[in-house]
Amino acid sequence: MNRLLQWLEDRIGFRSWLKQRLGAPLPGGPSWARTLPRVLAFLFLVQIITGFFLWTSYSPGENTSWESTYYLSYHLPGGAWLLALHRLAASAMIVLAVVHLLAVVLVRAYLPPRELTYWSGLLMLVVLFKLGLTGHWLPGDQKAYWSTQVVTSVLGLLPGVGEGLKQLVLGGSQYNHLTLTRLLAVHAGLLPLVFGLLLWVHLVGCRRHGPWLPPGRSRQPQGTYWPDQVWRNAVAALVVLGVLGGLMWHWGPHALTAPAQPAREFAAARPAWFFLFLFRFRQEFEHWGPWGEVLGALVLPAAAVGVLFLFPFWGKWRLGHGLNVLIALGLLGTAGYYTALAWYEDAHDREFQNAQWLAQKETQVALQLAQSGIPPQGARWMMLHRAEGRAWYLFADSCLKCHSYHDAQGRGYVHPEPSAPNLWRFASVEWVLGLLDPKQITQAHYFGNTPLKEGDMVSFVQQDMPEAEDDEGRRIFTPEALRAVATALAAEAGWPNLDAQLVEKGRRLLADDSSGCAQCHKFHDAGELGSAPDLTGYGSLEWLVGMISDPNHERFYGHLDSQQQTMPAFLVQPNSTNPAAVPHEVIEALARWLIAQRNRPAP
């Protein structure tokens, strides 16, 4: 070992270099504040390490980027954590770099002769944002795809060079395989290289001019780099890793959304959090036309960064320093304000909440489908052609056009003006109990916005039911009896864990054709079709498939006149006029999906 080190020493002076670096005296002594830039450099190395390993599993391309990201996250060992660490370390770098910059501005550490160190640092911050942007695009999922579309479109608006730049980034006039191969080359090749070169300039400058110290503080060296500063750096690095690990644990490692669907809307599209301020800021310029777009999204942000570069020129004067501090705080405040505003607005925007819910469910469907192997045409195709994918889109596009799908807390899809009942936990005990409640049945949750509001069921629930008595003058529909009916119907639908005695009792009421449900409804052998929907197998797979296929069949709402038949038939048939109609297998997949959702605590 010693001889090897000596051999290296004789050739490249390795030993003395190491001795000099590690044994360097620390002007002003070791410091915790100085761990900040070192943690940043450490995080850059973390990105190189995690990035390399991600690169071993990632495949750029229009029908491989989502697929490989899915595969490395859900099938390869440690992939999800590796990706989460890469993503979170990127965010941490941006946060810490901004803190570092702010500290430098506050203490005027940019003053000559440290301008070049300062400028290289600023450039690194710019590169960091570009790395974040390109990294956000690589998975090729919904959020990535729409972010790519929006940013490159704005880029294309730049006068003169815009269209050329856009085509350069996209590798053609529109998003294609080359977009992602180029993105990867830029994200994993060019940008880290540029960052590394800038870091080198930064470090050389730091070494040459020594650390910044408060005026009047002695530069008398105290301690040496190893171990006095190194142990502090290591502790700080481990603390940051610990925080990132905690966040990963808290949020879970996964962030992949469904594969991009260029022909469908994706209302949950938002940029990565560190660009959210820009997303909201540019909205202020929307009514200015394309020029406003360029101004808000490109020119003003670029000008803001440009001003930062000028700080060293006038920073030596008191007034200049004050101005710099004001500008830096102002910029940070503006970015913070617009980030918070975007968050606040989204949190209070029901439409956005709905969109996020849709995105989340779409992701679940895609992950479920991908599990058994993605077809060679890719995950996009899979979602659009496999029955389960088509069923989801049928639900999102057609069912939710009229129906709501949310729990009492408003989790799920809240239709602003539903014209059909809420389908969440349809045919469950609580759902049926609500329907049998004279107050609730005419609310939007049930028949309130449907033609059935004026129908026989409503008058039965509101007028006949409370008064119905048996031969001995006792009320038939007591609260307990209603619960029994609801439980028996839930049993028809196949809900688990029901009270067998209640089911039995409810079935008797359902089949009672003198004063019970079978007066109008058919229920197994009792009652007849023709005046109300069949309650046999109510809410079961077979019932749901039939209902969705043709709700106006005599088994369901065939007794209504055509004005009142508001739900179209979704089974594609030779004479079907519904453009959204689908084959039987898709309807069956939809019914299966609806039933599978029953086991979830919230929609």
């Binding site: 001795k19 390490i49 995690t50 390993f53 697929e67 590796l82 301690g223 290591a234 502790v235």
Partner: protein, 192 residues
């Protein structure tokens, strides 16, 4: 490590702790802390890389490769592709070529003899030898020569004869139990 210059002054040394013990602690923290901070991302990455092994979807099954009339009993070797579902990372490739076999039926023989077309030496696909010689098969990569029954003509780069595969006839269908064997060694061991 210990040869590094040790400075004489220590910032914030508490009067109780002897300086040498604090010094040792600083060295230890620096060493262990630095190692750990890089081992976490590096270890995660290595685990990701080393743990990523392809699992075979199922064991060897009988795969129909030809009809009996495609293999006349003239003793001539014919090559047939073997198709099955194959997983390539995230993609499920339905019914794609996963290899090929030579089928030979001697005059009067009912069940053909099946030979894996992959050379046991380095895995190239063995071709038919050009001229009417002793050799019937020739590997294009390193010129291993094999006779009609799959035995190699020595000296040969191939460490063993061509790999025979179980062949079954069901009605008019010829089925082969297709599996791959470890390359480059004398023994015939099924690839895991």
């Amino acid at each position: 490590m210990t040869k590094l210059p040790v400075s004489q002054t220590h910032s914030g040394t508490s009067p109780e702790a002897p300086p040498s013990r604090r010094r040792l602690l600083a060295h230890l923290t620096a060493l262990v802390g630095s190692l750990m901070s890089f081992l976490i991302p590096g270890g995660l990455g290595l685990w990701h890389l080393a743990g990523s092994k392809h699992k075979r979807p199922q064991g060897p099954m009988l795969i129909p490769v030809a009809t009996l009339d495609q293999v006349p009993d003239d003793g001539k070797p014919r090559r047939f592709p073997v198709r099955a579902d194959r997983r390539s990372g995230w993609t499920l490739l339905p019914q794609v070529e996963i290899g090929s076999v030579y089928l030979i039926r001697s005059p009067g023989q009912k069940v053909p003899q099946a030979l894996h077309s992959r050379c046991p030496h380095a895995g190239c696909t063995i071709a038919l030898a050009p001229a009417e010689q002793e050799a019937v098969f020739r590997c294009p990569c390193h010129r291993s020569l094999f006779r009609a029954d799959g035995s190699r003509i020595e000296p040969s780069p191939s460490p063993r004869d061509m790999d025979p595969l179980e062949c079954v006839v069901q009605g008019n269908r010829v089925l082969v139990r297709f599996e791959n064997f470890v390359l480059g060694i004398q023994e015939r061991i099924v690839e895991s």
